[in-house]
């Protein structure tokens, strides 16, 4: 069985990239064997790609719950430990609980969403990766893995679809 290798096809624009991905599908390359790198976000349906799965919202939601619990602890828990009588107000006043709980919930939501983006994207990562600087100049790169036996056939099809260059993807220091 031939060895599988990762290749990088570079396209000038969205249109030829979409055509190239269509060709890859036609040649039996599955979505799992592909990844698109681009300088701007492109809606998956434009390239006929499945939507990427993200856990950022879930992690953020967990953060919001933790933040809410922390807020409630601060305003309700601490007076329980150190009761303070102020201006005839109850020791556990509801309006203040709402204010602090709101702030801590939002802090938890945003902090964990931020961390979630790092965790889900594998940031920070300074190891060499398959990438070319032209991507941030607006090119679209399609990374795909195929058996080395099919290398020429696939490359030919991608060039016909409008790829500027096709070749083995080399991991490089970013």
């Amino acid at each position: 069985m031939a060895e599988t290798r990762t290749y990088l096809a570079v396209f000038e624009d969205i249109e030829p990239a979409a055509n190239g991905i269509e060709k890859l599908h036609d040649l039996g390359v599955t979505d799992d064997q592909m990844n698109v790198i681009s300088g701007i976000p492109v809606r998956p349906s434009i390239l006929e790609r499945p939507s990427a799965v993200t856990r950022v919202a879930t992690i953020g939601f967990i953060g919001a719950l933790l933040g809410m619990a922390f807020g409630i602890f601060l305003v309700w828990g601490t007076p329980f430990l150190f009761p303070l009588l102020v201006g005839g107000q109850p020791i556990y006043p509801v309006p203040q609980v709402l204010i602090i709980t709101f702030e801590m919930t939002m802090l938890g939501l945003m902090l964990f969403s931020f961390i979630g983006m790092f965790v889900d994207s594998g940031f920070p990562s300074y190891t060499p990766k398959e990438y070319i600087p032209e991507i941030s100049d607006g090119r679209i790169g399609v990374l795909y893995s195929v058996p080395t036996d099919d290398e020429n056939k696939v490359a030919e099809a991608l060039k016909k679809a409008g790829a500027q260059s096709v070749g083995p993807a080399e991991a490089r220091q970013l």
Binding site: T54, V56, G60, Q89, L107, L109, M110, S136, G138, L174
Partner: protein
């Protein structure tokens, strides 16, 4: 990536015809590589004027802020003008002012992003930077106001053996939580959309800049998963930071409104402060955009009259809203005929510093209403910068009227005394200088224009032929 918009034929306007669509950034696309180069060139090119201004600002920071604050700490608050009955003075005027400035970034970036206002794209980062740097000045001013800064950790709600316990009944405690939440969240929100531009800078830099951007870009490549995560996080931030923004200045207003003093005890203070914050923040953005456009290379391509026009419309609306809330806050005590409220009103309008109140009204209402109604004037950057500056003067004075002037009149006439600032003047100059210095440093270190967002917008804009006309059309490609 070339924009998908069709090249436009030469536009020859006829009488009564619309403007050339190419006047709009979204309809005047350039290749991404060219835009990248333009932004990087603006970061790397610093003429002698840049260094002169930076040197002057650094000198002011050193003398007015560093030495001034050292003097304040060494001598105590006695070197400031605060004394009975005005214990809250310019330091807190500055706190409220800078928190107000910080609202612009969130408003422009988050609300306009949520509303999908396309013209926001080139100047969101310039506004977001104002949020972070503005909050830094607010934080510094709080510490100045405290005097004994080495005891500032007493504010933090941690168990302690000093017999002190942070009191969550106090609005000042809410303030601590809200401002820190806002500072943390707005800094993260600044960083998120910056990632792709840091990656772009990394790809085109050498030397120490390459090392810096490689570290900051975190290994971003622009894979589908990375974009999805980034967009999801940005959407969460854009929605979540809006209520936080409203809460922050509302809570700042409660620092005053919860006190049963004449001039402060008002139920309208929350929204009135929020609108005031937006008034000064939005105007400051116009001023800063003018400075960026005038002093940095290639910025005239990205920051165009259409952007000043958008800002001008928002400034006009906000000015009207501010006038509405101010009138509410003025009218109700006027009808109540409370003795102390009436004395305070007389003092503000007819007292020894009566002119401040009139300058405030002229700057905050008369100037914007007289100028911003006309599109041609809104599209004139230097005029917008002047209006922005005057509104900021007006809004700073408004905070001065609310805090030291109002505190002058209380229910114990024997304590009445006119507040005269002393070292506060130098420290105020210091914080303004530090804000500008940070901004100037940032302009050379991070791309002030979110190039990927501009390109994304340009990709989605095309001219569609409807009948005999070409109509600008937007499609969502993200």
């Amino acid at each position: 990536m070339a924009a998908t918009a069709e090249p436009l034929p030469r536009f020859v306007p006829k009488a009564g015809e619309e403007e050339d669509p190419r006047e709009h950034l979204m309809h005047d696309p350039r290749p991404r590589g060219e835009m990248n180069s333009m932004v990087l060139e603006s970061m790397h090119t610093a003429g002698w004027r840049y260094w002169v201004v930076t040197g002057v600002l650094a000198f002011l920071v050193l003398t007015c802020l560093v030495i001034g604050w050292y003097w304040l700490i060494a001598q105590g608050l006695g070197v400031a003008g605060v004394n009975r009955p005005v214990y809250w003075a310019i330091f807190l005027v500055n706190v409220v002012y800078w928190i107000g400035i910080s609202h612009a970034g969130t408003f422009i970036s988050a609300i306009l992003r949520v509303m999908k206002v396309e013209a926001r794209r080139p100047f969101t980062r310039a506004a977001e930077l104002m949020t972070t740097f503005g909050l830094v000045q607010a934080g510094i001013s709080v510490f100045m106001h405290m005097g004994r800064v080495w005891l500032s950790y007493w504010l933090i709600p941690i168990p302690n053996e000093r017999g002190l316990w942070p009191d969550f009944h106090s609005p000042l405690m809410w303030d601590f939580m809200a401002i820190n939440t806002y500072l943390l969240c707005s800094t993260m929100y600044l960083f998120l959309p910056l990632l792709p531009d840091l990656a772009m800078s990394r790809d085109r830099s050498t030397g120490w800049r390459k090392v810096l951007y490689r570290i900051l870009a975190l290994g971003f490549r622009g894979t589908e998963g990375e974009w999805k995560n980034l967009r999801t996080a940005m959407t969460i931030f854009a929605w979540a930071i809006i209520p936080v923004m409203f809460s922050v200045h509302t809570i700042v207003s409660w620092d005053f409104a919860m006190a049963t003093r004449p001039g402060w005890s008002s139920t309208v203070f929350g929204p009135y402060f929020v609108i005031g914050a937006l008034h000064s923040g939005m105007s400051a953005v116009a001023l800063v955009l003018f400075l960026i456009r005038s002093t940095m290379k290639n910025m005239k391509y990205f920051l165009r009259p259409e952007h000043f026009n958008l800002l001008g419309k928002m400034m006009l609306m906000i000015s009207m809203a501010w006038a509405y809330f101010y009138f509410n806050d003025y009218l109700v005590p006027w009808y109540n005929v409370d003795k102390w409220d009436a004395i305070l009103r007389d003092f503000i309008e007819k007292g020894p510093i009566w002119w401040l109140w009139y300058v405030m009204l002229i700057c905050n209402i008369v100037v914007p209403w007289a100028i911003l109604w006309r599109k041609k004037w809104r599209q004139t950057p230097w005029l917008m910068a002047i209006v922005g500056l005057l509104i900021n003067v007006g809004m700073w004075i408004e905070r001065y009227v609310i805090i030291p002037e109002t505190l002058t009149i209380n229910r114990m006439p024997f304590t009445w005394r006119i507040y005269i600032p002393r070292i506060e003047i130098f420290l105020t100059i210091g914080t303004f200088s530090l804000f500008l210095l940070l901004y100037m440093a940032a302009s050379r270190l991070i791309p002030l224009i979110p190039v990927w967002e501009v390109q994304e917008g340009q990709e989605g804009h095309i001219l569609r032929k409807v009948g005999k006309a070409q109509i600008p059309t937007v499609s969502e490609i993200d």
